[in-house]
Each structure stands twice: as structure tokens, then as C-alpha cells.
């Protein structure tokens, strides 16, 4: 692939994570390039979230290395390039005193200097992010009064407000209804195509994967990288990855392979 000549956004080498002698993830190596649209799937407890947390420096790997835009995690400073939407994003504390605009503005906080307030440019970017996520009319509403789908778009708007190059979403559809989910995937595809934002999301929702996704990573202690997700869906052991049948998962092969 011609992509391999570029510096990847994420370069993960031999990453392992052990807790009290139990392997949660072992020997994960993968690269994520600019402009990609990647889905990460796998059973509950398979280590998807742990992997993302290690990529973002929230969890320390037992061994291995993560490089961000070519830099080691420790010396990486340009965090605004990364937009993270965590799993519980749509399940906010209902009493938290925040309007939609308050939340989206948070996306600008890390970009400004200590002594600088919000500039008119910041205001423009915040409004633009709300417009893209179709929540501009909800601007003055309290976040606690919104539906799951609306909150999800608020959280993504917050991430977009830092003008990220990559958007990482962990189970973004927790607590979101079906109609909103479809709308949400359309928005993601649009961000990837039109705004050239690299997208990585964790899901267990197999139905939506085939159409827009460029690559698929399946994580169940080890990583399986599938470069053609349409083909992946025909792999006979794929159904075992979705956490439906526990003993089937147990029988799942751990070897790395390319579908």
C-alpha cells in the first residue's frame, strides 16, 4: 500500500496490557493513517476500550510502544489534533450546569493561551461545529434535557471544536435510538469524506460496518486487521466476536491473520 510511506497518526508496536497476571491485550501492532475510516469491533471484555485508552495515554501499557504523529506519547503535545468521545458520552449527569454551547466551547479551552479569553475566532469555530452536528438550534438548551442522540452530537461537536485531525469514538451509540444511529453514521461518513477527518470508532454493531468503513480491526485480546471489511463479514468465525455466545468466543482463534 502506498499509505505505508507516510507517517501514521497512530503507530502501535507490540502493545500488551496485563492486569494481575491476566493478559487483557497481547502483542498488538497496528497503524492508523491520515484519512482512514476504521471500525474496531470485538466482544465485551475483549480489550477494545483498553486499547483506545492506551492510545490516548489514559492507561499505561505493560510493554510496547505507541507513537502519535511520529512522536512518543510522553513527548506528544498537540492533543488538540485528537478528538475523543468516550463511551459514556451520551449518559451525562442530568444536573450538570451546562448548556449545549458551554459543552462545545470546552473544545476550545486547550487551544487558547492562559491569559486569553475566547476570541471571535473561537466563537466562529464553536458555531461551525454546532452547525455541522446540526445542534445550532439547541445552543442554549441544558444538556441534561436532551435526548441520547442529541447529546451524542453535542459531544462530537465538542471534539470537532478543537479542529482535530482524528476523531476517536468509543461505543458512541450507547443510549441512542436506531434512527439517531443511522443519522450518526451518515454524519461520520460525511466528516471523513468532506472534512478529511480520520475516524476510528469502537462498536459491536455489525450491521452498519460494511458500507463506508475502510478497514476493520477486530480485538479479542489479540488484533486481527481486515483490510476489506466486506470480505470479513463472510469469515465464518466473525459472529463469535460480538459477545453473543460466550463459549463460542472462548473457542475463537487468537492468531493474527489478514482476512
Amino acid at each position: 500500500m502506498s499509505l505505508t510511506f507516510k507517517v501514521p497518526i497512530f503507530d502501535v508496536k507490540n502493545l500488551s496490557f496485563r492486569v494481575r497476571g491476566v493478559d487483557i491485550l497481547s502483542n498488538i501492532s497496528l497503524e492508523i493513517f491520515n484519512g482512514e475510516y476504521i471500525a474496531i469491533i470485538g466482544p465485551n471484555g475483549g480489550g477494545k476500550t483498553t486499547l483506545i485508552r492506551m492510545l490516548l495515554g489514559l492507561e499505561k501499557p505493560s510493554s510496547g510502544e505507541v507513537r502519535l504523529f511520529g512522536k512518543k506519547l510522553k513527548s506528544f503535545k498537540e492533543w488538540y489534533k485528537i478528538g475523543f468521545v468516550p463511551q459514556r458520552a451520551s449518559l451525562v449527569d442530568e444536573n450538570f450546569p451546562a448548556t449545549v454551547e458551554d459543552i462545545v466551547k470546552m473544545g476550545r479551552v486547550a487551544n487558547r493561551g492562559i491569559f486569553a479569553g475566547f476570541s471571535s475566532e473561537d466563537a466562529k469555530i464553536v458555531e461551525d461545529a454546532m452547525l455541522k452536528m446540526d445542534i445550532l438550534d439547541l445552543k442554549s438548551k441544558m444538556v441534561g434535557t436532551l435526548s441520547g442522540g442529541q447529546r451524542q452530537r453535542v459531544m462530537i461537536a465538542r471534539a470537532l471544536a478543537s479542529k482535530p485531525e482524528i476523531l476517536i469514538l468509543d461505543e458512541p451509540n450507547t443510549g441512542v435510538d436506531m434512527v439517531s444511529q443511522q443519522r450518526f453514521y451518515k454524519l461520520l461518513a460525511k466528516l471523513n469524506k468532506e472534512e478529511k477527518i480520520t475516524i476510528v470508532f469502537i462498536t459491536h454493531d455489525i450491521g452498519v460496518i460494511a458500507d463506508d468503513i475502510g478497514r476493520l480491526f477486530t480485538i479479542n485480546q489479540k488484533a486481527t486487521i481486515c483490510n476489506d471489511p466486506k470480505e470479513t463479514l463472510s469469515c465464518e468465525d466473525m459472529s463469535t466476536l460480538y459477545g453473543i455466545d460466550a463459549h463460542l468466543i472462548h473457542n475463537h482463534k487468537h492468531e493474527d491473520h489478514i482476512c
Partner: protein
């Protein structure tokens, strides 16, 4: 002009009280949202150790209280991050430990008298010119820091991990917040008293949250409630010879109950 403002001691008390209302309500907003409410009680008791040392050793009690409260805040943060302990258990342990230590120091030093009583419950009569200076000296930088980092602190109270992945120095700012809170609490014990200061930090914000408005307005409502309670409570205290801390706390609780009723779902 009202009679109440003609007395110099009341002028001092009002200046100190207004300063403390501003500090306590703004820092209280972050403390309440971070679920650190109990911390204000614990730090107030640690400040009392400083008062005890000051009274017995003959140093300015307020200065020593500030130092001990800050050290206690750092100890709490250290225990929280380095040991597997529940944070409310840590707070409870340090609260009772501080009180025990304060009582021992005071009884050994023979200073168990009215002077300590005023630090427990607050007394407008006892606010000296020196106290006002100390409150301004420590309170001004504390307020400046809070305002300077209010957006970062707000982000952290909303979601610490997302704030961290956005490049915000979460550890440093949490450390800064507890330090500032410790200073504010130590300064407040003159007017409100160490047993009652928690109320001035926690209740104005809790009342303001009932109105379900954005961040800015929540802080403004909280600030208004704190200012009103301090001014109204101290006036009651003056006219009816009541302990100032207690009247301030009962005033703010009345506002809280009113807010609950007005905003009942």
C-alpha cells in the same frame, strides 16, 4: 447612613465577609461539581489545628491555619492517588484526626477559652484589621487563579479524562484547586467558623444548581446567594447579638430550601 456601618468592627467584618462569600461560592461551584463537598469540612478541621498551634505558640492563628490546611489538602491528594482508599474514608479519617490533634494541642497549651470558641463558630467582633489584611493577601491571588483557570476547571469537573486527552494539565489543576480551596477555608474560619464554613462553600452552589441554568449563570446565582447570606446574616448577628457563622448558615439554608420549592419538578 445605617448605624451598623458606623462601627469600625462591622466595617471590617463586612469587608472580610464579602471577600469570603466571593471566594467560597466560586470555588464551591467546582468543589460541589467534582463531588468534593466533604473536603471542605475536612480542611476546615485541619485549619483548626493551625489555629490551635497559633494560639498556643503565639503566632497569627490565621497564617498557621492557611499553612496547615494547605498541607492537609496535599496529604489528601497524595493518599487519594497513591493508596487504594475510598476518598470519603480518607476525608473522614483526616477530619477526625485533625480535630483530635487540635483539641490535644489546645488542652496541653491551656488555650481552651473563648478565643478558640470564636474560631469554631465565627465571630464578627473578633475580625481584626490584621485579619482583613491576611484575607486580602491570600484571597486575592486565590481568586485570580480561580478566574484565570475557570474554563479549564469547568472542563475537568465535566469530564476529567476527556479534558486530559484534550491536553489540559489535569493533575496540576486539581492540585491548584485543592490548594486554593484550602487557603479559602482557612481564611473563612474567622467570620464563619471552622464548623460552619463547609456550608458557605456547598450550599450556595447546591441552591444555584436547582435553577438548571448554564455554567456562568450557576456561578452568578451562587455568588449572589453567598453575598446575600453573609451580609444579611451578619446584620442579624449585629442586631440580635447572635453568632455570625450560625446566622449566615441559616440564611443560606433558607435560600436553599426556597430554591428547592421554587424549582420543584
Amino acid at each position: 447612613m445605617l448605624e451598623i456601618f458606623e462601627y469600625e468592627f462591622m466595617q471590617r467584618a463586612f469587608i472580610a465577609g464579602i471577600f469570603i462569600a466571593i471566594l467560597a461560592s466560586i470555588s464551591g461551584t467546582f468543589i460541589v461539581l467534582k463531588r468534593y463537598s466533604l473536603m471542605s469540612e475536612t480542611l476546615a478541621h485541619s485549619a483548626l489545628v493551625g489555629v490551635a498551634v497559633g494560639l498556643v505558640a503565639g503566632y497569627n492563628p490565621l497564617w498557621v491555619a492557611v499553612i496547615v490546611a494547605v498541607l492537609s489538602a496535599w496529604l489528601i491528594e497524595y493518599l487519594r492517588s497513591h493508596f487504594t482508599l475510598y476518598s470519603d474514608a480518607i476525608l473522614s479519617i483526616i477530619l477526625s484526626g485533625s480535630l483530635a490533634l487540635a483539641v490535644i494541642i489546645v488542652s496541653l497549651g491551656g488555650a481552651f477559652n473563648n478565643s478558640l470558641f470564636s474560631y469554631l463558630f465565627g465571630s464578627i467582633l473578633s475580625v481584626s484589621y490584621e485579619d482583613v489584611i491576611t484575607i486580602a493577601l491570600f484571597g486575592t491571588p486565590a481568586l485570580v487563579l480561580l478566574l484565570l483557570f475557570s474554563k479549564e476547571l469547568y472542563f475537568i469537573t465535566y469530564d476529567e479524562e476527556v479534558a486530559k486527552t484534550s491536553g489540559i494539565k489535569v493533575k496540576l489543576l486539581n492540585f491548584l484547586l485543592v490548594t486554593v480551596v484550602a487557603i479559602i477555608i482557612a481564611l473563612s474560619i474567622r467570620v464563619v467558623g471552622s464548623l460552619l464554613i463547609g456550608a458557605l462553600m456547598v450550599i450556595p452552589t447546591s441552591a444555584a444548581l436547582q435553577y438548571r441554568v448554564g455554567f456562568r449563570n450557576t456561578i452568578l446565582i451562587s455568588l449572589f446567594f453567598a453575598l446575600f447570606s453573609v451580609v444579611f446574616g451578619m446584620s442579624l448577628s449585629f442586631y440580635f447579638s447572635l453568632p455570625s457563622g450560625a446566622t449566615i448558615v441559616l440564611t443560606v439554608i433558607s435560600l436553599f430550601i426556597l430554591s428547592l420549592i421554587v424549582n420543584k419538578k
